[in-house]
């Protein structure tokens, strides 16, 4: 099968042929005979040109893989050749229209709102305090702006990815 893989914006082309191991893998014009063995749910053992690697692969979303090699994490988006590109849904703090969204980085509880609607905030200013795992975490504005919307109240429970405050 042939894939295009997006790693930090760079596109790589890969092709894997056959089923057994070792299997020839083409990547960006080069070809390796890759001896591989899958150990458990996420573990892949690879031997490439005599070097042995442990990799762990977890599928975050269809085609979006978190790949750890020797403890280092890589987030890669794969497209099967032919299939049409798909946008992965990842929350971004800054959207097109120059608006800033303060997003809960993890599930927790709102312990303090440090701003009120229409208030001006400067870059780095504390906006809201979330408590999780007994630690308070102050979320700051990434740039200057005006508080457009506050979607939560003190004491609310929030889950990871929730938009809490919108700054314009």
């Amino acid at each position: 099968m042939t894939y295009s893989a997006d790693l930090q914006g760079r596109i790589h082309r890969l092709a894997v042929k056959g089923t057994g191991s070792p299997v020839p893998v083409h990547i960006d014009g080069k070809t390796y005979d890759v001896d591989f063995s899958t150990g458990d749910g996420s573990l892949l053992s690879l031997i490439v040109m005599g070097r042995s690697y442990e990799a762990d692969v977890v599928e975050e979303a269809e085609g979006v893989l978190m790949v750890w090699v020797e403890g280092k994490l890589h987030r890669i988006e794969y497209q099967e050749e032919g299939r049409r590109p798909r946008r992965s849904a990842s929350v971004t703090g800054q959207d097109m229209g120059g608006r800033q969204m303060i997003v809960a980085p993890m599930p927790g509880k709102v312990v303090a709102l440090l701003v009120s609607p229409a208030q001006e905030v400067s870059a780095g200013q504390g906006v809201i305090v979330i408590e999780a795992m007994k630690m308070e975490n102050e979320l700051k504005a990434s740039g200057p702006g005006v508080i457009k919307e506050i979607k939560v109240r003190e004491g609310d429970g929030v889950s990871g990815g929730d938009v809490l405050v919108v700054i314009e």
Binding site: Y3, A5, S21, S37, L46, A55, I76, M135, E136
Partner: protein, 500 residues
């Protein structure tokens, strides 16, 4: 000796106490919140009882419910672990009233020395030097006055609890207000008390603590020190024993000061005196923790003593199993606290489900953990999921061993600080022992960077093979396991089955 012990705690420390009980042939009673039904301490205990909803005020801090479980299960003794009710004098007194043995000091001793302000005034009376500051709880107003009196920078500290929670360093007038608010609110949510006081901030000193153990026959010993200077947000992250800064004379002086303070309140069971030590080896008493410490394991590794068993024997009225002159520190131990947090995103807590777990093995490795593959790390409790402890003949071997162990340790599903530890263990300041309480924060100030994408090409290949083999995955046969199929085929099948 007790025939059963109730463990009023959760996580790795509950498992730690259960193991000690099992080795002594003592039955174990676990309590758990609704978030912890599948927790390891529930599985390992002989008995287990639900005590309430996930938030600790409704479960692990619920004194009445815990006492009730002790009685209905016919348990005579309670081990509080650390955190939660472990330093709560009311709980200790409640146990005394109900005829239960609280495995720790008396409620009187906790009151006398446990509160930080109480401890400080007591220490100065006992002739133990303390950090300049107030020796009683303060109103917001009094805090501001104290700041003027002692001059900036100061530290605002919660009078109750420990573990650096409800603590803020104030270096400018402007910060004062929010610091007071944060300290009080963190303190009340962590310890149920918003009381705070003020100390002068000593800056780049070392945090070195002394472990003591006292029985009910008047014997008190010190078990050597722990170097705990590596902290982030006043939370210890790496501890070791002995301290690379220590010498025999300083150890004796600090140990004897600790014993003196313990005797001053007829202290019994395990306790720790925390000190700041400056570069000229002057030491200042900070506070006493009237309980087992998270990092007690490094002391166990170098003394060979099992502190939890010692606690239990003392609580049962038995004498200490060692005399001071029998205690020697043998080799070197280091502990890395593994937290469920993201070191590359300002150490944000990272609760969630453990998808894969591979723990290190081999010589000199000790794992104190309560996680397993498939378990949930709840949002409601401390992010400590594991303690990785190593022992070596000397500090050099211990460091090499810890590096090796960290490289073997794989925890997937939640973010952990394992890579953070790997970077710290390679810092020349750590390797040479040139550390102080502000070292980590200042090193982190320029932000932690993940180490290079050296393996990008391998990662790309691994991902492609993952997708490739999944397409071919077929259900695994039941089989007797007798037929030896090529392991990669077998595993690929299993892999296919487990895919999610």
């Amino acid at each position: 000796m007790f025939d059963k012990i109730l463990i009023a705690n959760r996580g790795e420390i509950a498992v730690r106490v259960i193991r000690a009980c099992r080795e002594m042939g003592i039955g174990t009673v676990a309590v758990y919140s609704e978030a912890d039904r599948a927790a390891l301490h529930v599985r390992l205990a002989d008995e287990a009882y639900l005590i309430g909803p996930a938030p600790s005020p409704q479960s692990y801090l619920k004194v009445d419910r815990i006492i009730e479980v002790a009685k209905l299960s016919g348990t005579k003794a309670i081990h509080p672990g650390y955190g939660f009710l472990s330093e709560n004098a009311e709980f200790a007194m409640r146990c005394e009233e109900e005829g239960l043995v609280f495995i720790g000091p008396s409620s009187h001793a906790i009151r006398a020395v446990g509160g930080k302000t109480a401890g400080r005034s007591l220490a100065s009376k006992a002739g133990v030097p303390i950090v300049p500051g107030t020796t009683r709880d303060l109103t917001d107003q009094e805090v501001c006055e104290a700041v003027r009196e002692f001059g900036l920078p100061v530290v605002i500290k919660a009078s109750a609890g420990g573990g650096g929670k409800g603590m803020r360093i104030v270096s400018t007038e402007a910060m004062l207000g929010s610091a007071i608010r944060a300290a009080r609110s963190e303190a009340s949510s962590a310890f149920g008390s918003a009381a705070i006081y003020v100390e002068r901030h000593l800056g780049s000193a070392r945090h070195i603590e002394m472990q003591i153990m006292a029985d009910t026959r008047g014997n008190v010993v010190y078990l050597g020190e722990r170097e705990c200077s590596l902290q982030r947000r006043h939370q210890k992250v790496i501890e070791e024993s002995p301290s690379p800064f220590m010498d025999l004379e300083l150890r004796r002086r600090m140990g004897e000061a600790a014993v003196r303070l313990a005797r001053a309140v007829d202290y019994t069971n395990a306790g720790t005196m925390e000190f700041l030590v400056d570069s000229s080896k002057n030491f200042y008493f900070l506070e006493m923790n009237t309980r087992l410490q998270v990092e007690h394991s490094v002391t166990e590794m170098v003394t060979g003593l099992d502190l939890v068993k010692e606690q239990i024997r003392i609580a049962a009225g038995e004498p200490l199993s060692v005399r001071q002159d029998e205690i020697q520190l043998y080799g070197h131990a280091i502990e890395c606290r593994i937290y469920a947090e993201d070191p590359f995103n300002n150490f944000m807590p990272s609760p969630g489900r453990i998808r894969a777990l591979r723990t290190p093995g081999g010589p000199g490795i000790r794992i104190e953990s309560a996680i397993y593959e498939g378990c949930e790390v709840p949002i409601y409790y401390d992010p400590l999921i594991s303690k990785l402890v190593v022992w070596g003949r000397d500090r050099g071997e211990a460091i090499g061993r810890m590096r090796r162990a960290l490289a073997e340790y794989v925890v997937l599903g939640v973010k952990t600080n394992i890579q953070f530890h790997q970077q710290v263990l390679n810092l020349s300041q750590f390797v040479t022992g040139q550390i102080h309480t502000e070292f980590l924060e200042s090193w982190l100030a320029n932000g932690l960077k993940p180490e290079g994408g050296a393996f990008a090409e391998i990662a790309l290949i691994a991902g492609a093979l993952y997708l490739h083999t999944r397409k071919r995955a077929v259900p695994s046969s039941i089989g007797t396991g007798g037929q030896v199929e090529s392991a990669w085929k077998l595993a690929a099948r299993q892999d296919g089955l487990r895919r999610r």
